[in-house]
Amino acid sequence: MPIALDFAAVLQEWPLLLKGMVWTLGLTTIAAVLGLTLGIAAAWTRTEGSGVGRLLVAMYVESIRNTPFIVQLFFIFFGLPALGVKLSPEWASVIAMVINLGAYSAEIVRAGIQATPRGQVEAALSLAMTRAHIFTRVVLPPALQRVWPALASQIIIVMLGSAVCGQIATEELSFAANLIQSRNFRAFEAFIVATALYLLLSITVRDVLNRVGRLFLFGGRRG
């Protein structure tokens, strides 16, 4: 049986694919900013916080890291309405991604913080800096510099994981591929194209994050 591939049928639906890519990138950007913030806050609580705070963060981190993203997403989208929290697919996706990235980045940032020499903190203390100041000015910047490549990888993992959000009808890239294949029955071609676009996105996002990291390493923030 000859195999006839028809990519043209898929590519002519490019507006859908483009829209999907924009959604995927948008979701990832929001999740990256909020997720890293959450992760830094969690890492701070875990290294500096009270006993209860540490326990709560440990429970948060472990429960997220040991369950699949798709279950977290379904829990938020299908499960929470039972408690009266009704979310649109887009909000559920963003929240799931933020919570997921927050847990992983908390562990990564914590590793970076722990590598900061004790003497630096003592030096800052001897300059009478407050704890908050020490964290934001002395401990955090070099910690983030150290672990930036790992954080960039994690952001990309979350972006690729967001393909699942199409399952609750968030109109991101994999949703677009599904829609296209339901229109023209060119399933394999549609998913090949979507996969190639994901590969393109992950290479591009990696590059952008490396640049952001370099800017962050050499520009300001240190003074």
Partner: protein
């Protein structure tokens, strides 16, 4: 498999509307077996393929090295969900009688092999150059160098991250639910459709994944600490 899924979900919907918590747990536990089986297939299959790729990558043949690097880049740079869809629809297109079982096993095996080969490659690279040279100076050929000198040392480094990756495989099998493979997540969705108790059901599903994964995570961490203690 689709038909089975339909029949099972139909039976669930018709038969019992009142599900006790125990009914939910029992059905989820039954489905969790398939999560475990699929994880083992993917992990073991991935190990075999990954080891072959590792050997290809450690040879001094540029073409092989680049091909494996490209393979890893593709699997790490695209969503596992897309890989599952491609395996499912691709095999059907090639005329292979395919089922969710086969597609999920193939996709997850290839996915695992890419990650494992990357992890192990890092471990091999961590072996000092001098070890290779010493083995060479003993007139060992490439296979003997790998078998007697490099792999035993790299293997010790590799155990902790490999066990850690098993957690990622278990979580990855949840995506097989999307192509109709009835494992823990899919069973959760089906029971939800029958009981209208998504909060309880998905809590139970999450808890079961946690019970599967957390001990392995802890074990991986213990292994890592031991390794650092010895060095």
């Amino acid at each position: 498999m689709c038909l089975t899924a339909w029949v099972v979900s139909f039976c669930l919907e018709v038969a019992v509307v009142e599900f006790s918590l125990w009914d939910i747990l029992r059905n989820l536990l039954l489905a969790a077996r398939w999560t475990v089986v699929l994880s083992l297939i993917a992990f073991l299959g991935g190990s075999v393929v990954g080891l072959l790729l590792l050997v290809a990558r450690t040879t001094h043949i540029k073409f092989l090295q680049r091909s494996v690097a490209g393979y890893v880049q593709i699997f790490q740079g695209t969503p596992l969900l897309m890989q599952l869809f491609l395996a499912y629809f691709g095999m059907a297109m090639l005329g292979v009688e395919t089922s969710a079982w086969v597609a999920a096993s193939v996709a997850l095996t290839l996915y695992s092999s890419a990650f494992l080969t990357e992890i192990w490659h890092g471990c091999v690279r961590a072996i000092p150059r001098g070890q290779w040279e010493a083995a060479q100076s003993l007139a060992m050929n490439f296979r003997e160098q790998l078998q007697h000198v490099v792999l035993p040392q790299a293997g010790r480094l590799a155990i902790a991250p490999t066990v850690g990756f098993l957690v990622q495989v278990i979580k990855g099998t949840a995506l097989a639910s999307v192509i109709g493979f009835i494992e823990l997540t899919k069973a959760g969705t089906m029971i939800t459709n029958a009981t209208f108790k998504p909060f309880v059901v998905y809590s139970c599903v999450a808890m079961m994944y946690f019970l599967l994964c957390f001990p392995i995570s802890l074990y991986a961490r213990t292994l890592e600490r031991k390794l650092h203690a010895y060095r």
